[in-house]
């Protein structure tokens, strides 16, 4: 068998393991990385004496460090109760209608996801929604499902909002501000359009006869830690924005701020370490090795030629088609491997079809983030939302999910399509 055929089989095996969910995604990626190394050595892609150096060269350490740093920062801030505090404060402001409170919580979910992982955001907002729904004796199903959808919109906002953003930004060498300049307007536009859709979609919800007593400060256990964590988090965001002047890599800034928050803004560093999503970090590192192997064996070039033949049908619309392909694949497979595989493929397609790589990169970010909402298994936040509702005795079927989310996600994807084509024109 040729090296390309062997690596195509490895790729197919990893895809099957990821789609079927037989193993945890990080375990599937580790199996793939191990096979890549073994066959890489056998076929002369890697060389045993210097294999560790070759493997480390394949892994984008900046993205890995940035992911770890942001996860620690977000976890420490979430533990202070800041996001629950904001949620309760807003709920108190909007009054006694559960429909208005739901809408505020859904929009807030998008903004929270801009800073923390989709999982953390969904867990926080899910718990908050359930507790408020109990007070109103309301059905939280719609609110929680739409919150899950909005976590994926929030994932678009900033470079640190989701892992695909970090991967593509690192590949395109985008600054924090450059990223925000393009992603934030679209995210805000989608939030606005979603709000207009959601208000009638939420339907009739109960209203409290008398004002519900809510004390936002009740969720803050340690005010001193709360203020310290807030300060360090704000400093981290400022440093991300000012990275151009500082000249330090984003990964280093994130790790520096994470160390500061562990030292000053948290009383339980051990517990923060244990709640970091190490699976994602291992998954990321393993997938860099797999992608490196696929690239060196010529599989990605082969894939790129296939994609290029599609792009020749209508070159002008290809970025939009690419976005929809990304969205469709992200609704079944995790969006991290989708992005990591497609980046080198898009590099080839960009050269062959003369399409700016930045536009293809953006179309990947939009598709990978928004596509996760298409199915109940498309994104971790969707799986968590279904789990939260199941614990409350409310079962969400695939058809139920599609009935509620498909129109909303279609609106979001159509807006992103128009925006992508606008980027191509400009």
């Amino acid at each position: 068998m040729s090296v390309t055929e062997v690596f195509m089989l490895i790729f197919a095996l990893i895809l099957i393991l990821l789609v079927t969910g037989r193993y945890h995604r990080s375990v599937a990626a580790l199996i793939g990385a191990l096979l890549t190394i073994l066959f890489g050595v056998e076929y002369g892609i890697f060389h045993l004496p210097q294999i560790l150096t070759e493997l480390i060269e394949l892994i984008d350490m900046n993205t890995i460090l940035l992911a770890i740093g942001v996860m620690i920062l977000a976890e420490a801030v979430a533990r202070t109760g800041f996001f629950e505090f904001i949620g309760l404060k807003l709920a108190k402001l909007v009054g006694s209608s559960f429909r208005r409170i739901s809408l505020v919580l859904i929009i807030l979910t998008a903004f929270i996801t801009a800073f923390v992982t989709t999982i953390t955001a969904m867990v926080i907002m899910g718990a908050l929604t359930i507790s408020l729904a109990r007070r109103f004796e309301a059905d939280p199903s719609k609110t929680i499902i739409y919150e899950a959808v909005m976590t994926n919109v929030g994932g678009l906002m900033l470079m640190i909002s989701s892992i695909p953003n970090l991967i593509v930004a690192s590949f395109l060498d985008l600054e924090f501000i450059d990223f925000m300049e393009i992603s934030l307007p679209l995210a805000l536009l989608i939030i606005l359009a979603s709000t207009l859709y959601l208000y009638p979609a939420l339907g009739d919800q109960p209203t409290a006869v008398r004002e519900i007593e809510i004390d936002p400060w009740s969720v803050i256990e340690d005010k001193q830690m709360f203020y310290r964590a807030m300060l360090i988090f704000a400093l981290a965001i400022a440093l991300f924005i000012l990275r151009d002047f500082i000249g330090a890599p984003l990964g280093l800034i994130a790790i520096g701020c994470a160390i500061a928050i562990l030292a000053l803004g948290s009383r339980e560093p051990e517990s923060i370490f244990s709640s970091i999503d190490w699976g994602t970090i291992f998954f990321l590192a393993s997938f860099y090795v797999i992608v490196g192997g696929l690239e060196k064996s010529g599989v990605l070039e082969l894939l790129a030629r296939g994609v290029f033949s599609i792009s020749t049908i209508w070159t002008a619309a290809f970025p939009a088609v690419n976005m929809w392909i990304c969205a469709a694949t992200s609704s079944i497979i995790d969006n991290i491997p989708v992005t990591m595989i497609l980046i080198p493929v898009m590099k080839y397609v960009s050269q062959l079809a003369q399409i700016p790589i930045s536009v293809l990169g953006w179309s990947m970010i939009f598709g990978a983030n928004l596509g996760g909402s298409l199915t109940p298994i498309g994104a971790p936040s969707c799986i968590i939302a279904v789990g939260i509702l199941r614990r409350e005795g409310r079962f969400v079927s695939w058809s139920g999910w599609l009935k509620r989310c498909l129109p909303l996600v279609a609106i979001q994807l159509l807006l992103a399509t128009a925006y992508t084509l606008l980027l191509l024109k400009s």
Partner: protein, 205 residues
Amino acid sequence: MTDPSKNPEGGLRSFTWGNDMQRNSRDVGKRLLRLLKNILILYFALTLCKALEPYLAPILNLELGSLLISSELVFTGVSLVLLIYFGYFILLDIRFFLNLASKAISSWLIGEEVSRVRVIAYDVAVIIALILFRELATPLLRCIEGVGAPLATAVQIIVLAIILLMVYHLAGQLYHLLKDRIEGIVKSIADRFSRKSPRGEGGET
């Protein structure tokens, strides 16, 4: 001589793993014995035909009009009948063992899975993993001095046998999946037609 057709488990009845498992596991011994018996009987019968043919050649040369019936033709015909008769039952038993082995291998490598689509995906994954294992293990085993080459060949044969069993299992699953889907479609179309057709014409009694 054993008459395999009298066995209640024989015939073309399809083998089902779930409820029949216990009964079938008891049958394994019987079937194995019957398979060996049939193979041996067929072997000896064919050998006997071959051995008797030269001795009976002078007697068996008959002329019926323009048709010459030679002893070779008679023994070929008899051999063919024996081959079809015993071959049919041998194939039935081989099919039983093939089912049993493929299901055992599949459940060992994959485990119990409810969804047929998932089983198909896992079958494909196992086949790919076995091909990769063969590609990786063969050159490594060949490096061992002395026993390396025969060991590599043995591993290749074993892996190939398991791959073939998995492909057989995969084909079975695909067949049942398509059959279930097609039957479902046919049933729904039939239901729709029977609902639409007016009384008396649609077969309502």
